[in-house]
């Protein structure tokens, strides 16, 4: 547990630096980057490591977001320092709800070989969105207002900002997600996932319960999608079903494909790219006057896929490639 803890503390120092150097819009983008990192890494577990194809990650994110948001409105006074304790717990509950949804969706569809999962998850994402649109208890189409979230925490003159508390909680889950997936993949459980991706028939013949492996990967993946949803809900203080449409699922798939199927660090890098790209292209759009963002965005993607068809990092991690490069040049 020492390595994850130190990693987290190191990244918190960066958070403090970001607190004093970045303006609030960039800080918000940073939180969104962290959320997308969790989405990307968790989807990579299914689409990259286990070789299945899920298209409904936004649906599980929505389940986590709405469940944890709803629960938090039952305990409205969650401001200030309390948030450091309560938000991780709420995130955990949101994650568990999403994991349960993942189990219900995964069990029937993962029994079957082939592309059923893509179709079922696609449908699931839409069902969740439409259901939320028609649920007045959580705002329906109007959106879900007034969700408690981190606020500035005044320690007698010394203020810890909303950003820093939000950053701490998002970063905590990024680190948790990374190390959980990293270590599970390097265990017997994870090797079962990989064998399913490589050759399902051979995996079965070698004693791997492939259905169980797939469901496990899927449930764990949904869990972290729910966590990402919860962080999103409490930081934005507002939810709208439109935020969890097909586009968000596609964004998650793009992160996985760009970064490389089976490369966690690849997903981290690609999450930065996918989150910031549209923003970086905004000036160009103002210059030309038409909406070129999506066009340029797609062109970048196509180019990348031509130059590096297996994603930025293939199935390798960033430091493996660096090590290889260093060995080659020295």
């Amino acid at each position: 547990m020492r390595v994850p803890m130190l990693t987290f503390l190191g990244l918190m120092i960066l958070g403090v630096i970001a607190e004093f150097t970045l303006d609030s819009f960039v800080q918000l983008m940073l939180i969104y980057v962290l959320i997308n990192m969790i989405l990307g890494m968790s989807l990579n577990l299914v689409n990259g490591f286990t070789g299945q194809f899920s298209l409904g990650h936004a649906g599980f994110m929505a389940v986590g977001a709405y469940v944890s948001a709803y629960l938090s409105t039952l305990f409205p006074d969650l401001t200030g320092g309390m948030g450091l304790v309560t938000f991780p717990v709420l995130a955990l509950l949101g994650g568990l709800a999403a994991a349960f949804a993942g189990y219900l969706v995964g069990l029937p569809s993962l029994r079957l070989r082939g592309d059923y999962l893509a179709i079922v998850t696609l449908g699931f994402g839409e069902i969740i969105r439409v259901t939320l649109l028609n649920m007045p208890a959580v705002g329906g189409a109007r959106g879900f207002y007034g969700i408690p979230g981190p606020t500035d925490w005044d320690l007698g003159g010394f203020v810890i900002s909303k950003f820093l508390i939000g950053y701490a909680q998002a970063m905590f889950w990024v680190v948790a997600c990374f190390f959980v997936i990293w270590r599970v993949v390097r265990s017997a459980h994870g090797r079962a996932f990989l064998s399913v991706r490589e050759d399902e028939i051979a995996a079965e013949a070698m004693g791997v319960d492939t259905t169980k492996a797939k469901v496990r990967a899927f449930v764990l993946s949904s869990f972290f999608a729910g966590i990402a949803g919860s962080i999103f809900a409490h930081y934005a203080n507002y939810l709208n079903p439109a935020s969890f449409g097909f586009n968000r699922s596609i964004d998650a798939v793009i992160i996985v494909v760009l970064g490389g199927m089976g490369s966690l660090t690849g997903s981290l890098v690609a999450a930065v790219f996918v989150t910031l790209m549209p923003e970086l292209l905004r000036p160009l759009q103002e210059l030309v006057g038409v909406d070129v963002r999506m066009v340029v965005y797609s062109l970048c993607l196509i180019l990348l896929m031509i130059l590096r068809p297996k994603g930025l990092f293939g199935s390798k991690e960033v430091f493996e490639l660096v090590r290889k490069y260093v060995r080659k040049t020295s």
């Binding site: 190390f179 017997a188 990989l194 079965e204 070698m206």
Partner: protein, 257 residues
């Protein structure tokens, strides 16, 4: 002393209009090295697929250690101790050599999903045992030095060997080898057969062997079943099979024509 480990009872496999295997009866005694031969398309691989649960037999039953196993999933059959290799090599190509072996033992490593996350003592111990065991198995087949290679980059002959190592790692009582020497030269084949004899001893294995090379099968198998067009046309010792007119007609005749 000759106790039946595996028994196939009137196994039939129908693919549309084709009876790939037709009412096949045979048994394998514990500890035996038995051959399954027949010309191309005779239905040998289909028999393996039925025994190991890849195909559901159209009719018939498979009994392993006295228990019916027809209808069980392949992984359940593997865990009961009946495993196989594949004629058309099915390694986990993008995984390393040792990972291929580790996958096959993964059901023997009993720890929870969160054990690796917290790197519990139990996890570390079981994991190091798994690695130790995998290295030992690779060592028998001279693959230990290549344990970190991507398995898809191994030379062909070594891929075939790795298939056997991987099957061994499941901890089998019986192993079905589907043309393990296919594509190997004479020397490699000879070497492989010695290895098979060795693991048979070391792990007290029962072996069912599909092999095209008639001489080879005659040389090492204790009993042989001959299939032709899905039907068993002969069985018995190599001498019996060798001198059977039906076999000569169906198999040797075709082969040498």
């Amino acid at each position: 002393m000759s106790e039946k480990l595996l028994e196939a009872r009137t196994l039939t496999m129908q693919f549309g209009g084709l009876k790939a295997v037709n009412e096949l009866d045979f048994f394998v005694n514990r500890g035996e090295l038995m051959g399954l031969i027949g010309p191309n398309g005779a239905g040998k691989t289909t028999v393996f697929n039925m025994l190991t649960g890849v195909y559901q037999p159209t009719t018939g039953e498979v009994v392993f250690e006295g228990n019916p196993i027809r209808g069980l999933k392949p992984y359940q059959i593997a865990r009961q101790g009946l495993t196989r290799t594949f004629q058309n090599i099915r390694l986990f190509r993008d995984l390393s050599v040792i990972e291929n072996v580790l996958v096959a033992g993964s059901h023997l490593a009993r720890y929870g999903l969160m054990a690796p996350v917290f790197e519990t003592k139990n996890f570390r111990q079981l994991e190091s045992e798994q690695y130790e065991r995998a290295r030992h198995l690779l060592d028998i087949f001279g693959l230990e030095g290549k344990k970190d290679w991507s398995s898809g980059t191994l030379p062909y002959g070594e891929q075939r060997k790795l298939e056997i190592v991987r099957a061994l790692a499941t901890g089998p009582k019986m192993i079905c080898l589907d043309e393990p020497a296919a594509g190997m030269n004479h020397k490699e084949t000879h070497n492989l057969m010695e290895l098979i004899a060795k693991i048979r001893q070391e792990f007290s294995l029962t072996v069912l062997l599909i092999e095209h090379d008639m001489k080879l099968v005659m040389g090492i198998c204790e009993r042989i079943v001959v299939l032709d067009h899905g039907v068993k046309i002969e069985q018995g010792t190599p001498q019996v099979v060798q001198s059977s007119p039906k076999v000569i007609e169906a198999y040797l005749g075709v082969d040498e024509a």
